[in-house]
Each structure stands twice: as structure tokens, then as C-alpha cells.
């Protein structure tokens, strides 16, 4: 078969993964985007391994390792997300602005100090959905 087919598929998956990382507001969905990117890479690795008929099967071994690392990464990533959620009651990336640099100095933004505000936004979001869907959250 043509090598081009898996290549194109992998590239498309990678691009979509990038979009998901850059455009999603929920942190968990961003992690899903990262998984998509990793899968694209895995596909590429396997395709080339088979194409080159590598005796050491470098591509497949690395793919295995990538899957393992992805698992470790998602475990830690979600631990972090949960920690952030506990601290700020939101994982909306638009609201998590602690890295911002302000003229009066750092640490003047971020939901840590604005916990009531964040809750407000969150509640508004939930409230809006509740109105939309009509079903209990």
C-alpha cells in the first residue's frame, strides 16, 4: 500500500489535536487534544517502522513507550487539573490567569483571590445550562 495514506491520516490527526489544545476551554478537553497528537505520532512511527522493515523495530518499541508515557502523563495531568479545581473551583482556562503579568506586579489576577467571582461565573454557566437543558446537572 502507499505510504502516503497513513502519513496523511497522521498529519490530519495531529492538526486536529493542535486545534483542540488551542481552542478548548475545558482543561480536560485540552488533555484529550494532547492524546490526539500523541496518537498521530504513534501512527507515523508504526507506519515508518513497517515501511522500513526495521529489524530492531524501533518504531514499534517507541510507540509502546509513547503509550506508556501518555498514560503516566494523563495521570499526572489530571492530578494537576483536580488540584487546580480544588483551588479555584474552575478549570476553565479562560479564567485561570495566574500567569498574567500586570503593571502592579504578579499575583493580582487569578481566581485564587477572586474565588467568589469565579464561582459566580461558574454558577452563571451552570445556571444557563440548567435553563437550556432543563435537566438537573
Amino acid at each position: 500500500m502507499h505510504l502516503a495514506v497513513p502519513l496523511v491520516i497522521a498529519s490530519a490527526l495531529f492538526a486536529i489535536g493542535v486545534y483542540a489544545v488551542l481552542a478548548r476551554r475545558n482543561a480536560v478537553l485540552v488533555l484529550m487534544g494532547v492524546e490526539l497528537m500523541l496518537n498521530a505520532v504513534n501512527l507515523l512511527l508504526v507506519a515508518f517502522d513497517v515501511y522500513l522493515r526495521d529489524t530492531l523495530h524501533t518504531g514499534q518499541a517507541l510507540t509502546l513507550f509513547v503509550i506508556t508515557i501518555a498514560a503516566a502523563e494523563i495521570g499526572l495531568g489530571l492530578a494537576i487539573v483536580l488540584a487546580v479545581f480544588r483551588g479555584s473551583a474552575t478549570i476553565d482556562l479562560d479564567l485561570l490567569r495566574t500567569l498574567a503579568d500586570h503593571d502592579d506586579g504578579p499575583d493580582h489576577d487569578g481566581p485564587d483571590h477572586d474565588a467568589p467571582d469565579a464561582d459566580e461565573d461558574h454558577d452563571t454557566t451552570i445556571g444557563r445550562q440548567a435553563q437550556r437543558s432543563g435537566s438537573p446537572p
Partner: protein
């Protein structure tokens, strides 16, 4: 265009389509489920490419473990069930452009280099369990051990994170 091309092409289409749904759907849990579809399709691709062992590993770990963890994460962070408005940020356009550009760059580079190549899938399967196991425990045994250490440290780290932030919130 052989039959295998068609098969892998269809599987790829499914994967891409599912990935698109992951990226744009407004329902958070549906995104996780679409991710399952995508990952399964990729596993199918692996199968077509005669990397059987990897395909099953993919299903086991990715679909079985990782997606489950993601669902747990969604649940613990009180993701709303049902469509959420404004789930994607308003500046989608820029993100989309960058994504398309990145994809274009990668595909162009790859096709320019390997566009006309063909994979010869005749002969013994490249990725059956025997072959893969042999190669891992012979040539790749050191990285294997290191990876297991890495898993251990990730585990410890996740526990430490959970406990530390728990203490902070309590105090």
C-alpha cells in the same frame, strides 16, 4: 490503489472524523466518547499495518485506561452533562488557522520526502507478539526499565499532588 489502501483509508477517515468531533462538540462527555472511537480507529490502522500487539495495547491502555481516567476527570471537575454554550473560545479562528498551517507543513514535508513510497506488507507480520516481545526484552530492555521507573514516579507524583492540595484547602 489496493484494497489495503482502501481499508486503511476508511479507518483513517473514521479516526479523523471522530477527532474532529472531539475538537468541536459542545457536550463534554460526548467528546470523551468520540475520543474512544478515534482511538479504536487508530488501533484498526495498526492492525492493517500488521502491528497487532500494538493495536491491542492501544485498545487496552488508551481506550481502557486513559479514556476512563479522562471521564473520571470530567466527573470530578463537575463538567456539566449536556451541551455547554461557548465551550470553544471566540478566538477559534486563529487556533484553526494555526492548526491548519501546522498540518499543512507536516503533510507537505512528509509527502515531499516519502510521497511515492509503498509499504511491502507481504511476508511475516511485523508486529506480532513474539517479534515485539523479543525486540523489547533484547534491544530495548533498558528503556523499558526506565519507563517503569517513570511510571512509578508519575504515580508517586500524582499521589503527592492530591495530598498537598488537599492539605492546602483544608487549612
Amino acid at each position: 490503489m489496493t484494497g489495503l489502501d482502501v481499508v486503511i483509508g476508511l479507518l483513517g477517515l473514521i479516526a479523523v472524523g471522530a477527532a474532529l468531533m472531539v475538537a468541536v462538540t459542545r457536550q463534554l462527555v460526548h467528546a470523551a466518547l468520540w475520543l474512544v472511537v478515534c482511538l479504536a480507529a487508530v488501533a484498526g490502522c495498526f492492525l492493517v499495518l500488521t502491528a497487532e500487539f500494538l493495536a491491542w495495547v492501544q485498545v487496552l491502555i488508551y481506550v481502557g485506561a486513559i479514556v476512563v481516567i479522562l471521564l473520571f476527570g470530567l466527573m470530578l471537575t463537575r463538567a456539566p452533562i449536556g451541551p455547554v454554550t461557548d465551550l470553544s473560545r471566540p478566538r477559534r479562528l486563529l487556533a484553526g488557522t494555526v492548526a491548519v498551517a501546522v498540518g499543512a507543513v507536516i503533510v507537505t514535508a512528509l509527502l515531499m520526502a516519502f510521497g511515492g513510497a509503498t509499504i511491502d506488507l507481504s511476508g511475516a507480520p511485523q508486529g506480532d507478539a513474539t517479534t515485539t516481545g523479543t525486540v523489547i526484552f533484547r534491544a530495548w530492555v533498558l528503556p523499558f526499565e526506565i519507563i517503569s521507573l517513570l511510571l512509578l514516579s508519575a504515580l508517586v507524583g500524582a499521589i503527592a499532588l492530591s495530598r498537598a492540595s488537599g492539605d492546602e484547602v483544608d487549612s
